[in-house]
Symmetry: C2
Subunit: 113 residues, 2 copies
């Protein structure tokens, strides 16, 4: 087993069209995880992840802040302590609509090549 | 997509030999998730999950409180913001060694029957 503070993992800037988004890959295949990865995202106030879609799901948990998740026409609000589930192949975009940082975990299955 | 507060999911008592442990199954196959489940555990001060082992991994994130993870002879401390990875087939036990509640997320792959 392994335990470490999330801050022990280097935070990387997510390139545009992401706006004000950083990511830490907390658990990956390199950690030894056989099935899925744990990432932690931080979004600055007003920032957002790109509207995009892909054939894998997202399982997210809001750690700090508040924002919205948009899927197609539908927009839903969330705050710290909320769960967000995005099914495969559904367009989605996270936005920070609060005054402080938005921080959330987002787990995805490994992309098998 | 779906978003809901974690408190919207009913909290269940985890039976003995767990000691002072409750669980919310936040995302499951019933939610539509194809690969893995998200659970949130709450452990009372002094409480613990049973020392046990199984052929699937744990990916955990400590939300509140502090405690230890024991794997075989090895014991490591953690606090809020820590990541815990337990590989398949490794014995492990979470303990709350703090004064307040220990709350953590723990993701596991679905157990295919």
């Amino acid at each position: 087993m392994k335990t470490y503070p999330n801050e022990a993992i280097e935070e990387e800037e997510v390139p545009a069209p992401a706006d004000g988004v950083k990511v830490r890959w907390l658990i990956t295949e390199e950690t030894g995880a056989p099935n899925f990865a744990m990432r932690q995202f931080t979004v600055t106030p007003g920032g957002s992840t790109p509207q995009h879609t892909h054939p894998w799901e997202h399982e997210a948990y809001i750690l700090e802040g508040s924002g919205t998740i948009q899927g197609g026409e539908e927009v839903e609000e969330f705050e710290a302590g909320a769960v967000v589930y995005v099914p495969p192949d559904e367009p989605h975009q996270f936005k920070n609509t609060g005054d402080g940082e938005l921080k959330f975990l987002c787990m995805i299955p490994h992309q098998k090549k």
